[in-house]
Amino acid sequence: MTVVVVDYGAGNTRSVRAALTHLGRDSVVSADPRLIADAPYVILPGVGSARSAMTHLEETGAATALRERFAADQPILGICLGMQLALQASEEDNGVKGLGLLEGIVVRLDAPRIPRLGWAVVEPWGDAFYFAHSFVAESPDAVATSEGLVAAVQRGSFLGVQFHPEKSDAAGLDFLESCLSLA
């Protein structure tokens, strides 16, 4: 099975693909709506800024493909910004409309130091994962937290995580493996 890592024209998708390779999964980076529709599993990674990412997703047709995939109950994993984009809107870049797959919004972090960088335990899962973010979700679809902040959201076939499983060592690989096992 080939995992589609959604391309939105910015930054680093290499690490996500490397983690998938480590788990013995083939992957391709693409914004092709047909590939996104047909893939057994789709990952919306976390790179770049909210506005440029959403613009790219809408222009390529990837946004529509993601909404249709969600409506058809096919699995999608959103990572960091990829999770935030699935909500209704973000405060980032003076306000950006999201994909609206889940309820909730993205707001600027209220933390002692921003960006919030480093490893933190995610409850109720118990493992420590790596976070690097300046914005955070506020959502009724939250399913896990870290230091009181939303660490994961889920609705239907969409699971979104604020942390970077591809950068979270053994805990991250185990997490990705359990996600992929659903496909």
Binding site: R14, R113, I114, W119, D127, S134, K167, A170, G172, D174
Partner: protein
């Protein structure tokens, strides 16, 4: 706050690790990829790679090193040395680095911090400050500027840096402990994370630094005994610092 971070730093020249890594069980002690994997397995929370070649040929060699590291490493890593433009930063980040570290180039053109942060986010930009006698130094700590350390850290943060890597030149390589006064002064002046660097000689030094700030960089203390990293972590934890719980693959 997230858990305290212990960050080994590897100096790389022409694609090879330099500065006395002593260990016999690695096939190739000079291979940054192999050493990175070894430190990752030993519980490093992140890694920093500093390219000390700083030549055009060195830059393309470094991109290749970054790609090889990104393909095998599942912890975050920062790459510094020779990054002078948004294009340089893009190449390193697209090769798989999580963050780039700017030093002299940020001093020469502070707007570079903003441009890279705008493109890749603040979390992708580290500003490295080599500090001595309250002023910032360049050229690997050999040349003093008239720029005061704390105001420069504040400016870097204001311009969009996501982290400060603060090295005390006087303590670097001395193994007498971190400059906690300097670290505290910068920590108190900025609202971004600060990595303390320079002076780690034992677990107590690292623990002392991690009581003051978010993360500690270590070099010679781990390079002279890479297999000792798990033990160093346990000692630091025994001194009351909470590090991330390590996990075996299930």
């Amino acid at each position: 706050m997230p858990l305290a971070r212990l960050i080994p730093c590897l100096d790389v020249a022409a694609g090879r690790v330099v500065k006395g890594v002593s260990f016999v069980n690695l096939r190739d002690v000079g291979d940054p990829v192999e050493l990175a994997q070894f430190y990752s397995a030993g519980g490093a929370d992140e890694l920093v790679f500093l390219d000390i070649t700083a030549t055009p040929e060195g830059a393309s060699t470094m991109v290749h090193v970054v790609e090889r590291v990104a393909d095998v490493l599942e912890i975050p890593f920062t790459v510094g040395g020779g990054i002078r433009s948004v294009e340089d930063a893009s190449r390193i980040i697209e090769a798989g680095a999580d963050r780039v570290s700017l030093n002299s180039a940020a001093l020469a053109d502070p707007e570079l911090i903003t441009e890279i942060a705008r493109r890749f986010g603040s979390q992708a930009v580290v500003v490295a400050i080599d500090a001595g006698n309250d002023v910032v130094y360049t050229h690997g700590g050999r040349q003093a500027t008239d720029i005061a350390t704390v105001p420069w850290a504040v400016e870097a943060a204001t311009r969009g840096a996501g982290e400060i890597l603060l090295t005390s030149i006087a303590r670097d390589g001395q193994r007498t402990g971190f400059d906690l006064v300097l670290t505290e002064a910068v920590r108190d002046a900025v609202d971004i994370p600060v990595i303390a660097s320079g002076g780690a000689g034992c677990a107590q030094h690292v623990a002392d630094a991690l009581r003051v700030t978010d993360a500690a960089l270590v070099a010679s203390i781990v390079h002279e005994n890479p297999a000792g990293l798990p033990g160093l972590r346990r000692e630091i934890e025994a001194l009351g610092i909470e590090l991330r719980p390590l996990k075996e693959r299930t």
